[in-house]
């Protein structure tokens, strides 16, 4: 298992980035932060496009350490020598080349390390649904198509690490979902480690296994995606929400619902074509439930249109402005619930109390 060791400083007049972190290069790591937090600068440092970076940067494998930057020893590996791919926010396709020529540009220059089976051009083209566009000029492509070409071009260069800098931010909702699905598939099929920068937590939550949070050029959180979102919620740094990754149990097509397993209980969410059609990719579903969408009852509701009610225990009771943030543990999973102080008093809720939480199927949100 490889990891990326980052001990880097970047100093500008009005901004500084200072990172000291070992980032595991497995699956997708999300890098989240507001604009100006330094997330794009961090990607540029890793890519080798930030000339002002000071410090050390290396990829550690089981057997060897590959130094990319060691400013004291005057080591700076040029971007083209790093074998790291980068998909930019704007697709940056070469305007004088066709789609196919763009794709071949990286393929021709790839540094195939011994023993690795090289990627099949057709396989990537089919995966990214570009088979009908190969002979087109890039000016004829839509925004979504351009980003797919940019992704396929980066993949065909066979990088050992793929960086993505807000790759969805210029796309409309429909294309965002297409790209997210595509990235999930790419990650599954190619097993390529990715660092995914975004200011949208919802996007990152759909893709990433790990989450690194940046604020004013410093790492404030790093860890498992659900745990970090949990921490951000308890610290009141984001809208209170519960982030879940659940196994698909079955599709109740006649009711338009999908059943997800949560221990011996179940959660129902609206049936989603994407998830139903692509059962291989979506054995698991990532979803978010806003704390304001969940309510608490003392007895199991039997005559309610609300489909989800789960039994659980209150594990935390935190006053937060005029509201109370409850943490309710149901079958081992913590759920965040926002209720008013008035309701908390009326139901005389206390820690360790057994309660039921309820929420509509529609409040279980997923981006795909």
């Amino acid at each position: 298992m490889a990891d990326l060791s980052i001990k880097v400083m970047v100093e500008y007049d009005d901004f500084s980035l200072s990172i000291d972190e070992e980032v595991s290069l497995t699956g997708i790591t999300g890098i989240f932060g507001h604009s100006g937090s330094g997330k794009s600068t961090l990607l540029k440092v890793i890519a080798g496009l930030e000339k002002h970076a000071q410090g050390n940067l290396a990829i550690n494998d089981l057997h060897e350490t590959d130094v990319l930057l060691a400013s004291e020893a005057k080591i700076f590996v040029a971007p083209q020598q790093r074998n790291i791919g980068l998909v930019f926010q704007n697709s940056r396709l070469f305007p004088h080349l066709t789609v196919e020529e763009n794709l071949r540009y990286g393929q021709k220059r790839r540094k195939n390390t011994e023993g690795n089976k090289s990627l099949d051009f057709t396989e990537i083209v089919v995966l990214t649904k570009l088979d009908n566009l190969l002979t087109k000029s890039v000016a004829q492509l839509s925004g979504g198509e351009q980003q797919r070409v940019a992704l396929a071009r980066a993949l065909l260069a066979e990088p050992r690490l793929l960086l993505l800098d807000e790759p969805l931010s210029a796309l409309d909702d429909k294309n965002k979902i297409l790209m997210l699905t595509l990235l999930t598939k790419v990650q599954k099929q190619l097993n390529l480690p990715m660092l995914y920068v975004s200011h949208s937590l919802a996007e990152i939550q759909q893709l990433a296994n790990n989450l690194l949070v940046l604020s004013s050029g410093k790492v404030t959180h790093y860890g498992d995606i659900h745990q970090v979102i949990h921490q951000l919620t308890t610290n009141n740094e984001i809208l209170h929400q519960t982030s879940l990754s659940l196994t698909v149990k079955e599709h109740l097509v006649e009711y338009g619902l999908t059943s997800l397993a949560l221990g011996d209980q179940q959660i129902l969410m609206p049936l989603n074509q994407q998830i139903e059609n692509d059962a291989n990719t979506y054995t698991n579903v990532r979803c978010i439930i806003a704390a304001s969408d969940i309510s608490v009852t003392l007895h199991e509701p039997s005559e309610s249109s609300i489909v989800n009610h789960l039994q659980g225990t209150i594990t935390s009771f935190e006053p937060c402005q005029s509201q109370i943030l409850l943490t309710v543990n149901c079958s081992g999973q913590d759920f965040f619930v926002d209720i008013t102080a008035w309701s908390a008093q009326r139901l005389s809720l206390i820690v360790e109390q057994k309660v039921f939480i309820q929420f509509k199927a529609n409040s279980v949100r997923t981006l795909c």
């Binding site: 930019f88 704007n90 940056r92 220059r109 260069a157």
Partner: protein, 238 residues
């Protein structure tokens, strides 16, 4: 006119001078324009002013200082004479060096503008795909800024053909060596041979119009994009 005619000889000398000058200009103008386009320090303004100087300075001023420098009394002329055994002033080499300096802004400015417009985005993308600096220049920069290269070379060539003052000062009027068309024209006028002067003048006017028209044709804005748009539109209506 046969090749022994003095004006024919002047034409050949002119084309040789302009051709060699253009090649040298492209070789030194490209890296200089690249450096100016990418440079961010304040010293850039000074170099830019220096490059643009021939645009405003009377050619005779440039010619006067070059004449001094090229003479054996000064170090550059002295070094040249020791290295080649020949005097630099009043030689073909002198008018080529003079032309390179005189036409430099015509090559550097369009290239610098093209490199600035190109920006770093595509070059960064190419680097991330494994392309070295050399590779990026030939596969990205050159094809995209091709029109500007042709413009720069044509302007450099045309401007060199049209120069008079610098050549007169440092080259004199040696047939087959430094006697170029503009000087030959001046000679004819001085000798009241207006018929011959007309021939040279009108040929220079016509060839300049043709060359400049070609440059403007090449630089029509968004030429390629317009055709693609037209194609998609015609497809939509068919």
């Amino acid at each position: 006119m046969n090749s022994t005619h003095p004006d024919m000889l002047a034409l050949i000398t002119t084309l040789k001078m302009a051709g060699i000058t253009t090649i040298i200009l492209m070789l030194i103008g490209t890296p200089l324009a690249w450096y100016l386009a990418k440079m961010k320090s304040r010293g850039k303004v000074f170099i830019e002013a220096l490059v643009a100087l021939p645009l405003v300075l009377p050619p005779t001023v440039l010619g006067f200082y070059l004449l001094l420098l090229f003479s054996p009394q000064y170090l550059p002329g002295q070094i040249w004479q020791e290295a080649t055994g020949q005097q630099l002033a009043f030689s073909f080499s002198a008018i080529v060096i003079g032309s390179v300096l005189y036409s430099l802004p015509f090559v550097v400015q369009p290239l610098q503008k093209a490199f600035e417009q190109l920006g770093d985005d595509l070059l960064e993308a190419a680097a991330m795909l494994g392309a070295s600096a050399f590779d990026r220049f030939f596969t990205i920069v050159l094809p995209i800024t091709k029109a500007s290269f042709i413009t720069a070379a044509s302007l450099g060539f045309a401007h060199t053909v049209g120069e008079f003052g610098v050549v007169l000062m440092i080259g004199g009027n040696i047939p087959g060596e430094t006697r170029v068309l503009s000087i030959a024209l001046f000679d004819h006028v001085e000798a009241f041979d207006y018929a011959q002067a007309h021939i040279i003048s009108i040929s220079l006017v016509i060839s300049s119009i043709v060359l400049l028209s070609l440059i403007y044709l090449l630089n029509r804005p968004n030429k390629s994009r317009l055709t693609t748009k037209k194609q998609t539109e015609s497809k939509r209506f068919s």
